[in-house]
């Protein structure tokens, strides 16, 4: 029951936000500032995580296919599992963990210090003022981050395959390019785009409805990352089914 009520409140929150964004002029300058901040905040950690997920993907693919004599297929495995699934999901969870939690805690602190009430008193719509720039910013920055993550992941898995596992580099690349096509990058960016919508709305929702005191800020931050990670994972399956299924290799 409680969860259902929370879901309803979230729906109302999204509706209010949509109305506020539609009826006010878009905050161009602040959106670009937010995009820059989100990108710069998330980039270093994303590079580290992508690189190490790529190394593990190569090890994993090698171990899965070696018993069948299919070591050569590591490139294909990296393309299917890494490019299509893991890279967008990783970007989503890292941006949720870094930028999403920061949004939640910033807005929660504004809520408990009554700065949001102060905005309303000054006749500035808080949804438009606080959420719209973050929303546009995250949508601008997530697709490029996904491309960077895919690139890093591929390079690191290539290095592990050739240097640690002793596979043939040309073969890796041949299987890799056979399995992916340029459109896959676009599909991954579409995925990331929807993940960005979820992360921003969920984080801002929890920040807006934060309870008072340091506990409240902690709880809001905590809830935002878990809820956005879980909903991105569920959405990821649906989108893979829609975008990639039936297309074959």
């Amino acid at each position: 029951m409680n969860a259902l009520a929370e879901f309803g409140r979230f729906g109302l929150f999204v509706a209010t936000f949509a109305r506020a964004s539609a009826t006010h002029p878009p905050p161009v300058r602040r959106s670009i500032e937010e995009a820059y901040r989100i990108g710069v905040l998330s980039l270093p950690i994303l590079l580290i995580i992508s690189a190490f997920v790529g190394t593990n993907l190569a090890l994993q693919g090698y171990n899965a296919f070696a018993p069948l004599g299919g070591q050569r297929l590591v490139g294909m495995f990296v393309a299917l599992a890494g490019v299509r699934e893991l890279a967008p999901m990783m970007v989503a969870s890292m941006v949720a963990a870094k930028a999403g939690t920061e949004m939640a805690s910033q807005i929660a602190v504004m809520r408990i210090r009554e700065q949001i009430d102060a905005l309303e008193v000054m006749a500035i719509n808080p949804h438009w003022f606080l959420i719209t720039p973050r929303f546009i910013g995250i949508l601008l920055v997530l697709p490029p981050l996904t491309v960077i993550s895919i690139f890093t992941l591929t390079v690191s898995s290539y290095l592990v395959s050739t240097l640690q596992l002793g596979l043939n580099g040309a073969e890796f690349l041949a299987y890799f390019t056979d399995t992916t096509e340029p459109m896959d990058l676009v599909y991954c960016m579409i995925k990331a785009f929807f993940f960005g919508i979820i992360i921003c709305l969920v984080s801002c929702f929890y920040g807006f409805n934060s309870k008072s005191g340091p506990n409240g800020v902690g709880e809001a931050t905590n809830a935002s990352v878990v809820v956005s990670a879980v909903s991105c994972a569920l959405l990821n399956y649906l989108m893979s089914e829609i975008l990639f299924s039936g297309r074959g290799l």
């Binding site: 090890l59 870094k98 920061e102 805690s105 340091p214 902690g218 905590n222």
Partner: protein
């Protein structure tokens, strides 16, 4: 420079916590309470994330195996991937995001409200009463959640392969242990134990040394998730290389 100082502080903190873990007395009841708390809080997120990942794994795996006509090996691929990598990493990410950040928030709030100072003034060792039970709870709960997550992931693979794509159920269950060995299961458990130590120490460290009011607590929570995820993803590469290595 500041980062190096923080690393040194973290090392000293870890050593102090480690010493208290090894020497009596232990807050058994508190540890049990925190373990129960973290396990129940993470249970739903872990299953809700690993299950769809098992589904995705089966979806993409079917495409690869259809080339060989080896669809029957699908469940082996799913179970190897789930036991070795997916479930340990995803379960740990969610323990960090849900349990670790909750611990950082609790300890951070205690620090800001000066409750930790009050504990010290009453001559009660705050590390022993507040930090050690939480670290132990994370270390105990993460492997358990990993096992539950593995079962959810294999169930997710089953759901896609059998219910949606019409593979045979008996073939799916029959081949689960074809390529997976018990060493994969224990390797996953060992990895999650190490990840649990990392998450527990990083979360309690961030909470214990939180500064700067309510915003500081938010920052501690934020840093906990990011730093612990980075730490164990890096550790994961070396652990996978060491445990499962390349079979030459």
């Amino acid at each position: 420079m500041e980062r190096i100082a923080a690393l040194g502080r973290f090392t000293i903190f870890s050593a102090r916590v480690g010493w208290r873990v090894l020497t009596p007395w232990w807050e058994v009841q508190e540890t049990a309470r925190h373990t129960w708390l973290i396990a129940t809080r993470c249970l739903l997120p872990v299953t809700a994330v690993v299950f769809p990942f098992g589904m995705v794994m089966a979806l993409q795996g079917l495409e690869i195996f259809e080339i060989f006509g080896a669809q029957r090996l699908l469940s082996s691929l799913v179970s190897v991937a789930v036991f070795r990598e997916l479930s340990p990493v995803l379960a740990s990410v969610l323990v960090a995001a849900q349990g670790g950040s909750a611990f950082a928030a609790e300890l951070g709030a205690m620090r800001i409200k000066e409750e930790l100072d009050a504990t010290e003034i009453m001559a009660i060792d705050s590390l022993r009463t507040h930090v050690v039970p939480r670290v132990l709870a994370t270390v105990i709960a993460t492997p358990i959640l990993n096992l539950i997550g593995s079962i959810a992931g294999i169930g997710g693979g089953f759901f896609t392969a059998v219910c949606l794509k019409g593979e045979t159920a008996g073939v799916y269950w029959g081949n689960i242990w074809a390529l997976t060995h018990s060493s994969d299961v224990f390797g996953g458990l060992f990895k999650t134990t190490v990840f649990g130590v990392l998450i527990g120490l990083i979360a309690t460290y961030q909470g214990y040394y939180a500064t700067g009011g309510a915003a500081g607590v938010g920052k501690a929570v934020n840093d906990t998730v990011v730093i612990s995820v980075t730490a164990f993803v890096i550790a994961n590469y070396f652990l996978t290389s060491a445990l499962f290595g390349a079979i030459q």
